[in-house]
């Protein structure tokens, strides 16, 4: 069963309007830790402190300011910044369509499934999904949901439409910032490396993988909770392949893979 409706809106472009309901597509479950005070194991709370008065400040006494010069602030209500389209319009406005393959995975954030909002007679849903699927296209859109503005990609997966929120370009750090130096790798090393990668290629089968660590972590927690001694293991570290041993390591790898 799909999860409940999160929000309702309407996809809009040209003279097309498709009213839809958003459903979560992903749900995360993980072991949760809290932060404790070491001395008494009391759970700590995050709190904002006034640097001047040195007292905790509750959220109703917090305001936002933009620093125009040192120590001088312009008071701004952050909600004013978020509303690109009025939330009441519930419009998911498509600004343009792009080839899906052009969207770097670094931009993709959180995916929602879209269901046609049948209360509002929603013709066009199936046709839009089919067109996006056939054209390998994604609609780049913006909308305002719960007082926040979002940028997203509208895509089809089979007959289902999906909306994936995207990070803004100034939130994605470019690879150039790593300032990698140019290093010569021989054609022979690249050739053997490519052969090796092709040898080791397998289909992507995500259902084969589960978080084995969580199960082991739960065991450790149970053991420790019973007061039993926990044996500490040192993490395994690998010896780096030296640059002049790279070719040899690749050749040995290829032999092993064959």
């Amino acid at each position: 069963m799909p999860s409940g409706t999160i929000w309702k809106g309407s996809i809009h472009f040209g003279d097309t309007d498709v009213p839809v309901k958003l459903h979560s597509a992903v749900k995360q479950e993980r072991i949760q830790f809290h932060l404790l005070h070491q001395s008494d194991q009391v759970r700590l709370h995050q709190q904002m402190f006034c640097a001047y008065e040195k007292i905790p400040v509750p959220s109703e006494d917090q305001i936002k300011g933009f620093e125009v010069e040192e120590g001088k602030y312009l008071i701004v209500d952050p909600e004013e910044l978020e509303l690109t389209t009025p939330e009441s319009s519930r419009m998911i406005e498509v600004h343009e369509f792009v080839k899906s393959a052009q969207i770097s995975p670094l931009y993709l954030d959180h995916t929602y499934y879209l269901e046609p909002d049948s209360d509002l007679k929603a013709p066009g849903y199936s046709e839009l999904a089919e067109l996006l699927q056939v054209m390998n296209a994604a609609g780049i859109c913006t909308w305002t949901m719960r007082k926040r503005s979002y940028l997203g990609a509208l895509q089809a997966s089979g007959t289902l439409l999906r909306l994936c929120t995207m990070r803004y370009a100034d939130e994605v750090i470019s690879a150039a910032s790593l300032e990698l130096q140019e290093i010569a790798v021989s054609e022979k090393e690249l050739k053997i490396g490519s052969d090796l990668v092709n040898q080791l290629t397998a289909p992507f089968e995500p259902y084969k993988f589960v978080d084995e660590h969580q199960q082991r972590l739960q065991k450790l927690i149970n053991k420790k909770a019973r007061g039993e001694k926990v044996v500490l293991l040192r993490p395994r570290t690998l010896q780096p392949t030296p640059p002049d041993g790279l070719l040899q390591a690749l050749e040995a790898s290829l032999k092993k893979a064959a």
Partner: protein, 256 residues
């Protein structure tokens, strides 16, 4: 943030993890309504009524309400010793086979001293073959399935959701088409007319402009307020302390 080794078959490359995502908005400070003094985020012990410094903080698992079992970093690292310092590529895959639904959080890997050549080779070879590495890797409380991707000469590492976390979407899509063919044609024409190259910078610029416009408007409406001067002490507290706290919060609360 983290350093260790990425390996495929018999090749091991020393790397460190680098963030690929940042808060890009023009940033605002949180201020005290009464005196406009900037606020600093601190960890607070309700029992002692004091601020707690990072070296006095431990992780705890809630056994029963209000009762916690402390877990040390060494214990956490000890749970999966094979995977806490090693990103071992199990298979190479076609990235096109990965439904984008699986992508969670991206990072970069940067080579450490001595690993530059093997790093360069892996990035170039994955680029040529159009492949990505699939690996398992443990950070703090969670084991991640990750895709190691070649991107502009660098290695990016994107954590993936487990298939058990993907919810079913069955039955959400309607079974039948409803539009007249003329209307469908019109929709198709609209899409074709609106085709463009993906240029994410323009949306960031638009948002930035909007913020700047609003700030300009506010400048006309109101004078900036002044925070009280602090004696000696920095409003944020020692920078490394704040950074350390933020680091802990990130690790514990959100993602790795």
């Amino acid at each position: 943030m983290w350093n260790g080794t990425i390996s495929f078959s018999l090749v091991a490359i020393p790397v460190r993890l680098v963030k690929a995502v940042t808060t890009g908005r023009i940033s605002f400070r949180t201020l005290h309504r009464t005196d406009y003094s900037p606020l600093a985020r601190k960890m607070f012990c309700p029992k002692h009524g004091t601020v707690v410094s990072p070296d006095e903080i431990v992780r705890g698992y809630e056994l029963v309400p209000e009762r916690y079992l402390p877990i040390t970093d060494e214990e956490l690292e000890s749970v999966s010793p094979d995977r806490s310092r090693t990103i071992e590529i199990i298979d190479f895959i076609d990235l096109g086979e990965v439904d984008p639904l699986y992508f969670d959080h991206p990072y970069y890997l940067a080579p450490l001293k001595g690993g530059e050549k093997a790093y360069r080779l892996l990035a170039e070879v994955m680029h040529r073959t159009n492949k990505a590495g699939l690996a398992k890797f443990v950070m703090v409380e969670r084991e991640y399935l990750v895709a190691v991707v070649s991107m502009e000469g660098a290695l990016a590492m994107i954590t993936l959701h487990y298939s058990g976390e993907v919810l079913p979407g069955d039955g959400l899509a309607p079974k039948d088409a409803k539009l007249e063919s003329a209307e469908k044609k019109r929709m198709e024409r609209s899409i074709k007319n609106m085709m463009a190259d993906f240029d994410p910078a323009k949306y960031a610029d638009k948002r930035r402009e909007k913020v700047v416009d609003l700030l300009k408007l506010k400048m006309k409406e109101q004078a900036p307020v002044e925070a009280p001067a602090l004696e000696e002490e920095d409003g944020e507290g020692p920078a490394d302390l704040v950074a350390a706290l933020e680091e802990i919060m990130r690790e514990v609360k959100k993602k790795p």
